[in-house]
Amino acid sequence: MIVGKAVNRVDAEAKASGTAKYVADLVDRNALVAKVLHSTIANGTVLSFDLDEAYKVPGVVKIVTCFDVPDKQFPTPGHPWSTHKAHQDISDRKLLNTRVRFYGDDIAAVIAEDEIAATRALKLIKVEYEEYEPILTYEDAMKDGAMAIHEEKPNNVVVHSDYEMGNFDEAIKEEGLIKVEGTYETPIVSHCHIENAGSYAYMESGRIIVVSSTQIPHIIRRVISQALDCGMGKIRVIKPYIGGGFGNKQDALTEPLNAFLTSVVGGRCVKLFYTREETFVCTRTRHAMKFFIESYVRKDGTFAARKIKAYSTQGAYASHAHALVANAVNGFRMMYPVGAIKGDAYTVYTNLPTAGAMRAYGIPQIGFALEAHVDDICQKAGFDKVQFRRDNMMQVGFVDPFTTIACHSSGLDECITRGKEYVNWDQKIEEYKNQTGDIRRGVGMAVFCYKTGVYPIALETSAVRMVLNQDGSTQVQMGATEIGQGADTVFSQMAAETLGFTLDKVNLISTQDTDVTPYDTGAYASRQTYVSGMAVKKTALSLKKKICEFAGYMLNRDPSDLDIEDNNIVHVGTREKYLTTEEVAMEACYSLENSNHISAEETHHCSDNTYALGCCFAEVEVDIPMCSVKILKIINVHDSGKIINPQTARGQVHGGMSMGIGYGLYERLIIDPKTGKTNNDNLLDYKLMTVLDTPDLGYDFVEPEDPSGPYGNKALGEPPVIPVAPALRNAVYNATGVAVNAIPLHPQRLFEEFSKAGLIK
């Protein structure tokens, strides 16, 4: 078995030796340099530019402004395109925008011979604006008479949606119910992949080639074609190794503009690499959300009814828009699918940096709100926090009435048991009762559920091509992308497993090139091992069948008697070895009688989905006068079905936990409340955790086989980030008695909360 084994990553040596090439390592050294002029107001209209001084800078080749780009709006999010108009992504931005919608909007671009010339020219461009009052909160944006940020949405509401499961109004009439209300808020945070956004573009024979750090090369090709209004066949997108994405690069960022820029300089190579500051402000962020929750619980510790009102602050452009908060309020229902449930969600334009996809797509937001709320319920009603969750949580067999997604498997109960053990929960709950003094300790926990792919909300499709080499190895081409998560490695394992090859006989092509790579929508959701993995399996079975057929021809045997094991053609029953796959491949290629270039290509159109589940348990120490939280112990326990590779799986859990701790305690993008300017657009002021801030990270897996996954597996890439912040918040609550309803629990916030609670005088 290769699936299930902790093999080293297939790309690890290239990355450890420095030979792995990223976008900036490939660009022609004579490439022109493009720099974008970003608006210095948050809300307004560009009236005019004065470019005279800028053009005097030696080395400036061309300056294009918002008045020079095609008068065409296009969508940017990394979704499969919908052929149904009603489901299509919102087209609400141009390559450069005259109508300025956030502090940092793209209004012009300079192309120059070198960086200094481009930067100097940027500073010399004079802009005349008509300026309006910035609208920086969803509350202000929804006020009567608020100015429309996009004329298509006069009330600034991008989308409003609602649902009701059961009858809420009837359900709350039941006698003896305990009502608990709470308001919970999550911040804007940044993906902080270490490689910034960037691309280079050039033209060849009338076609535009864009090499970009993206998670979604095939989708980028479509978006460029929409932005430039040209056929998709005229565009070629290449994705080499990339330095992380986390959802930010599941969006068209620099690519459409860069494709346009090369076209205005005769196809010369133009590089457009964003700085760290631009990556913070001008790419995408995680949506800030605010939730108003009202719950009615019975004295036996079960939900009778609950409802949620959710507001998602979109920022300037729609990007993934409502899909995230819709996912959040769905998650509110799915985790505890009992009683009557009502959901109401708004996505609202504001003059803030644009929010888009980020690891776990709206669920870390609801995960915090819901799991904080559940602790509030337990505290108020005197329920056991673990038992209450166990009594209400999703069970195998649950089918969500709105999405039809079924719970095929669940190891959540066992996850909770192991989490409890790890932090010695029962004993600590007793020990930490009635504490006094400056330093106090507490334990907290949270659970989650997470949909693996995007079916049935959107199309799930993936294609794979496998070509047999003469040495009996195979080149595997996939549209699914490696973004650091380890996709190439687990796909290689899956291919080897199904083909009967050893791992060294599988050469997975890491680079996607839309000219040659089969279609796949790319790395997002936690879909690839589940959806693209199934395409690998299907293609491998197809290739294997063809190899066995040729071996059958060579051996004059019925191919159905043949199998492949460790690169040998064997008898399906006795396992007797007949030939090596190399012998078959050589003969197939060079046979004078029956030359046959064996390859296989299959599409998997996925019409299923499944829930991954899990929990986080944490123990913290709070230094009250210093307003600081120290994590003493923390563990995530995951049911992600069968684990394909324990080493890379651990990597996903560690990385997600780290991001979750940051979400709970450290990270937030700070926007000036008057101007809309981002204050902390750099790694010094944005508090991404350093190694010294990171505690030892515990992890564990419960592995029930999921019948819908290609190898019993389900989501793992995103889930680890979800339960951490609420577990930490609940642990601080347990330690201090102070329920903080907004994250991060950074010192300033703790100071305010502890002061309010009288712990600091």
Binding site: R9, A12, K15, G18, Y22, G244, G484
Partner: protein, 163 residues
Amino acid sequence: MKKQLVTCTINGKVRENYIDPRASLSDLLRGEEHLHSIKHGCDVGECGACTVVIDGETYNSCIYMAIWAEGKNITTLEGLSTLDGTISDIQQAFIDEGAIQCGFCTPGFIMSSLPIIESDEEFTRDEIKKQVSGNFCRCTGYDTIVTAIEKTHNKRKAERAKK
């Protein structure tokens, strides 16, 4: 600006480069020497992805002027492999411990670890963390990186003790 000769030792070889005196060391190493292990994540000394070792100490090459490299001895990740391309034990440890994901921060972390693994002193896990605390990673949660350094340090110490 008029170019200027900078002579320094890079990965064991004396190198002469004519560079713009406004260039950073990372401009020299990436642009002139094509040492692409040096990554740019911030350009202001905050992310650590461009870390190199100069005369035994770690520096962010993005905020080190190339003209300051005159006469210095510089090591980049490329210099850790032997001439036949065999990677070093610390690189192998990063592979074996699963300390690499997207790989963009990896060269910087490995370079930052050199003062530890080349030292005979004892280091606690927290001291190892401190030595690489000028490097950011968003993928791994750092845990496996620290383990890879710790194991390599212990291995090298044991090897030196045998000799």
